[in-house]
């Protein structure tokens, strides 16, 4: 893995105004995202992780500070930075195939090429036989697999995942984590993955960014050098996990004192 910086975030501050009160979601957050890595972002609930992801996607405007994607300022959403949502956000009137091809429709590719891409992702996500099913007929794990490959189909340079497995049951979640690692290994995409589960972060991440409680800034970045597939019960994993939990606990304590 190279260490080319794909996204550079410096002193990013974001303030929301709501009914005359200002809420600072992010405060002077600085972090780089490297090409090809799977970066997990953990932090106390409501700390602003989702805001960060939405700014990266271009769905929210950054406040002050700079945020550069391949050296360019991010102006609005684009298919090169696609996003996977916790609630799947599939188009209910489109079947699996047509959900996956949604982002391809704007691209000038031949029909054959588009079909080829869709078929490739259908197999990658183990969705063979369900191409013509509608979201309502899929299990939640399948829905999220559709959402992931839909986001990958446009061949983005950055995949943003906002607690994508947060609404799945434990069993499905385990399977999905393995699937994601498989997809990541096969596509080599850069992934920024927001989660509130420390276990999940330890299982998946190349690096884990721990955010402070709101307003979020970077508390610490941690390299996880255990090779995949990882055993969450190994002593190394447990050690990392315990360390992160301690830091998070301190953050939660802090937020309880101030709020």
């Amino acid at each position: 893995m190279g260490r080319n910086v794909l996204v550079s975030i410096q002193n990013l501050t974001k303030v929301f105004e709501k009914d005359d009160t200002e809420i600072t979601a992010l405060q002077r957050l600085t972090i780089d995202v490297f090409e090809g890595e799977l970066l997990c972002i953990v932090g106390p609930t409501g700390c602003g992780k989702t805001t960060l992801l939405r700014i990266l996607a271009g769905l929210e405007k950054p406040g002050s500070g700079t945020i550069r994607f391949e050296g360019q300022e991010i102006r609005g959403p684009a298919a090169e930075r696609s996003m996977v949502f916790q609630e799947f956000a599939l188009f209910p009137w489109r079947n699996v195939e047509k959900n996956i091809s949604f982002g391809l429709e704007n691209k000038s590719l031949t029909k054959e090429k588009k079909n080829e891409i869709v078929n490739g992702f259908v197999s990658l996500a183990n969705l063979k036989g369900f191409e013509h099913s509608h979201p309502r007929d899929l299990s939640s794990g399948m829905k999220q697999r559709v959402a992931i490959v839909r986001a990958l189909a446009t061949d983005p340079k950055l995949l943003l995942m906002d607690e994508p497995f947060g609404s799945l049951d434990a069993q499905t979640r385990n399977i999905m984590q393995k699937e994601l690692l498989k997809i990541w290994a096969e596509t080599g995409k850069t992934i920024v993955f927001v989660t509130h589960s420390v276990d999940e972060a330890v299982l998946l991440a190349c690096r884990i960014a721990i955010l402070t409680s709101r307003p979020a800034s970077l508390k610490r970045v941690l390299e996880v050098e255990i090779p995949h597939p990882r055993d969450i019960m190994s002593s190394e994993s447990i050690q990392i996990r315990t360390g992160i939990l301690k830091e998070l606990e301190a953050e939660v304590q802090k937020s309880l004192m101030t709020h």
């Binding site: 769905l59 959403p77 930075r81 696609s82 996003m83 956000a89 188009f91 009137w93 949604f102 982002g103």
Partner: protein
């Protein structure tokens, strides 16, 4: 499934019993008042069956089937015109706030005026087929418009976010997300609108129409004191309205299912 069928049968039985009870009360009351203006139900139903079977030509020279088709055509024209205008305007209003801000005061001023109040204007301003269609149009337009606007506004913002992060914007976003996601609400608006349109048709026919119509039929029968025919016409309007509703409900269900709602 068997349990559901049994339940369905019970439901229909209760409904039928209630209707029969209503007819019985009607009959008792009609006997009590013994007035030519309130015929007894058996007279009315006999008349209804007779005009339908013989497809009677009344003294104005129209067959009952012509009255029915004239009313249906008027409703469909007014409804179609209203739908063609209200759905796109509603979609735009829901999508672009400045269009909504421009249009909503106009709408809020016109909406409370009952379609009936437009009759004098319609009579003098439009010619025959258009004047009655205009009244139906007024009744139908606003429910379609309002539920289309509500539909666009209630679209899950995540669907729009998802589409945007997949590189979709502008007109494509409108065409590929806003429109299909609004289909269930549009269908609800169309169903309600068509129901109101059917209710407006009698009023619409007051503007002086050529070629018959159920409203005309009722009025002319009332003028010559044949109240069993008046009531038969009313029942006909009710039953046809009910059938139109059934068809629309089915259509709405199908399209809503297509759009992913149950």
């Amino acid at each position: 499934m068997r349990r559901e069928t049994r339940r369905g049968i019970i439901q229909v039985a209760i409904g039928t019993a209630a209707v029969l009870l209503l007819i019985l009360l009607w009959d008792l009351y009609a006997m009590q008042v013994d007035s030519p203006y309130l015929p007894r139900p058996q007279q009315v139903f006999a008349t209804l069956v007779s005009i339908l079977i013989h497809n009677d030509k009344d003294f104005s020279g129209f067959l009952i089937s012509q009255h029915i088709s004239a009313s249906v055509v008027r409703v469909l024209c007014g409804f179609g015109l209203a739908a063609i205008l209200a759905v796109p305007i509603g979609l735009l209003c829901g999508w672009l706030w400045y269009i909504e801000k421009a249009i909503s005061p106009i709408i809020e001023l016109i909406r409370p005026v009952p379609p009936l109040a437009w009759i004098p204007f319609a009579i003098y301003f439009f010619r025959d087929p258009l004047s009655s269609i205009f009244i139906v149009f007024l009744g139908v337009f606003f429910p379609i418009l309002l539920s289309t606007v509500a539909g666009v506004k209630s679209i899950d913002p995540l669907l729009i976010d998802a589409a945007r992060t997949l590189g979709t914007k502008g007109l494509d976003l409108f065409r590929k997300v806003i429109v299909p996601a609004s289909v269930p609400s549009i269908m609800t608006g169309l169903r309600i609108g068509l129901g109101i349109g059917w209710m407006c048709v009698v009023a619409a026919e007051l503007v002086g129409v050529k070629g018959g119509g159920l409203g005309i039929y009722i009025l002319s029968m009332s003028d010559v004191g044949r109240f069993e025919n008046v009531f038969a016409g009313m029942i006909l309007i009710g039953v046809l309205g009910f059938i139109i509703m059934l068809i629309m409900t089915q259509l709405e269900r199908r399209l809503s299912r297509w759009a992913g709602m149950y």
